[in-house]
Symmetry: C2
Subunit: 274 residues, 2 copies
């Protein structure tokens, strides 16, 4: 099974792929989130794994925008605990480090640590890509911020572990594919809709779910780009489109929306936070 | 009157300052949005102007996060139409250009144009800062993306005008200050709140507004950072805290929230879109 992910070998996205699909999987690295979508659309890979949200930094807006226009379905979700390491060349010492390379989100998640150490920082398109770049540069005064696994893969040295400013740092990934997945006992559904701009329109739209006791797990708004200050709302809720009360809720919602797209129902990942 | 804004002289934020405050104003450039908040907090400037949302790219999450912890009030809003220009050194020619420098949001808004011209692109902290950098470099094969005004200020040449991919491109700015402003006939209010995670909690919270016919103009969610997947909701709505039905709505809302902060009521800017 071929699975597209964004980043280099050793990125957190690849870690999410391995966590879910194990050793049978063949992860296929892609430079951008957009090219993960394309790889699945053209059948180069079976599915794709894309980051959608981080518990500290918030939504990955690029993924939200790509979900609007894709013909793919959301077929699953993966939660990954993020533990950032400061990674240097073999033989380097933390006291020699003057600057760090990483993805902007990782830099942002370690902002306090970076400031306390007096490091400069430079943004790179991927955490593992930063480790690779550092290795190629041979620069003993620079370090990368990435996962423990990235350090192993590139034969580099961990100078510090768990350097993120907030401990409860999780990223949620979506699995995207062409075919609806088998459902589980507990499922989630992801939809997108647009409303007319009248008082109470969002309230009445959410009523379709609230009045049936359907639990919303996430709401996100993104500009439609066609009219200023008109939004597409992205909703995740518990339940699947095979359940009657969800079908009813969507039928009611569709009478109140200008646009409605069901991205899919998929098994909910049950996690316990440390 | 001293007014802090983010970016260099000639940035869109400075244009917003001049649009609202005119010639009497003394705009004070700051490198980051965070330092605009600090300048007002310590009294270095009277007010600050910060971008909150763009009609194409969506919310400026850094500003949302800073609003959570500030003791300042939101005292006004400014809408600015964004028209991006391709700017080169005097005597340069569009056929010589190989790469462009600009703020990541401006690059993103001109992605189609940049791709069609085959340019490389490099991110800079500010649009006007990119023009300044280009001028200093003296590089005839590079261009910057910024406003017409930035080109004038730095004595540079406009190579193309209106290069953004979507025409209806507006940025909304907030004015932040220490004292509540005089209100107008039509006003807006901005609040932040956190809910318990039970089915229908957002629906019931929004009911406080919908059942009183109060028009919501924006809803945004940001992670609380203290508990994974718990969100702070940011709400803009029409009306001021001096109106009885708004007071009632906030009183009802406060019985349903874990946390509620009123950032302020301020005159609504009435705009007509082209």
């Amino acid at each position: 099974m071929k699975i597209a992910f964004q980043g280099e070998k050793g990125s957190y996205s690849e870690e999410a792929v391995i966590k879910r699909f194990g050793k049978e999987a063949e992860p296929v690295p892609k430079r951008t989130i957009s090219s993960v979508f394309s790889a699945v659309e053209i059948g180069e890979t079976d599915v794709g794994v894309v980051p959608i949200e981080n518990s500290i930094e918030g939504s990955v807006t690029e993924t939200y925008d790509l979900l609007l226009t894709t013909s793919l379905k959301v077929i699953g979700e993966i939660y990954l605990k993020i533990v950032h390491c400061l990674i240097g060349l073999p033989g380097s010492d933390i006291r020699m480090i003057k600057r760090v390379y990483s993805h902007p989100q990782a830099i942002s998640q370690c902002k306090g640590y970076i400031a306390s150490m007096g490091f400069d920082y430079i943004s790179i398109y991927d955490t593992a890509g930063a480790v690779k770049l550092l290795k190629e540069s041979g620069d003993m005064t620079s370090a990368a911020i990435a996962s423990e696994r990235a350090a192993e893969i590139y034969g580099m040295q961990i100078l510090a572990r768990g350097i993120e400013d907030y401990g409860r740092n999780y990223t949620r990934f979506l699995i995207i594919g062409k075919n609806s997945p088998p459902l589980a006992e507990r499922n989630k559904t992801t939809i997108i809709f647009t409303l007319t701009h009248v008082p109470g329109s969002l309230y009445h739209a959410l009523g379709a779910f609230a009045l049936r006791g359907i639990n919303l797990t996430k709401i996100e708004s993104r500009p439609t780009r066609s009219r200023p200050w008109q939004y597409n709302f992205y909703l995740d809720f518990e339940g699947s489109i095979e359940e009657e009360h969800v079908k009813d809720a969507l039928a009611e919602l569709s009478t109140k929306t200008l646009f409605l797209k069901v991205l899919g129902s998929y098994p909910m990942e049950l996690i316990e936070y440390e």
